[in-house]
Amino acid sequence: MVEILGLVAILELAVAGLLVVRLAMGPSVTDRVVALNAVSTQATLSLLFFAAYADRTIYLDVALWMASFSYLGALVWARFLERGLL
């Protein structure tokens, strides 16, 4: 049962690897912003499942920081896109 949690963590990171392809060849800037935000979400989920797999509650703290700061990062990217600086 615990092995499934580790497997899900690996698969989430594999999905992030697929999103890297979109970030590499995305034709517009907005494609890349969305791909980056999705990669952050996938990394957070992978971290959560890894915390359950490794049975360490201190790792959940890092996942909380990653989720909240990826939100702030997306906000910064959106602000710069809005001002037309990119």
Binding site: L13, L23, A24, V29, S46
Partner: protein, 96 residues
């Protein structure tokens, strides 16, 4: 099963680092830098250092790409011809 996640993180970090160097679009390169910071934070956690992962996520994934973004924006306001920056000329689809 630890080592699969380990090497997968390393593969994504290496791909992102190659993208930072190879991408011609400067905003895309800054986003690839943010990707490297995020997945490197995940790698720190997998290797068992959550306190380093805190600093890596805050600085490497958010603050450093934002600094590059501000610098790129400030440079671009002073350059009339965008092809002087070494980027290919814009196609209209690239504008938000």
């Amino acid at each position: 099963m630890f080592w699969v996640l380990d090497y997968l993180c390393l593969a994504v970090v290496l791909t992102g680092a190659v993208l930072v160097v190879r991408l011609r679009n400067l905003a895309g390169a800054a986003m690839a830098l943010s990707l490297v910071g995020t997945v490197l934070g995940l790698l720190f956690v997998v290797l068992g250092a959550p306190d380093d992962a805190h600093a890596q996520i805050v600085v490497g994934a958010i603050a450093l790409p934002t600094l590059y973004l501000i610098a790129i924006g400030k440079v671009r306001t002073d350059v009339e011809d965008r092809t002087e920056l070494g980027e290919p000329a814009d196609d209209p689809d690239d504008r938000p």
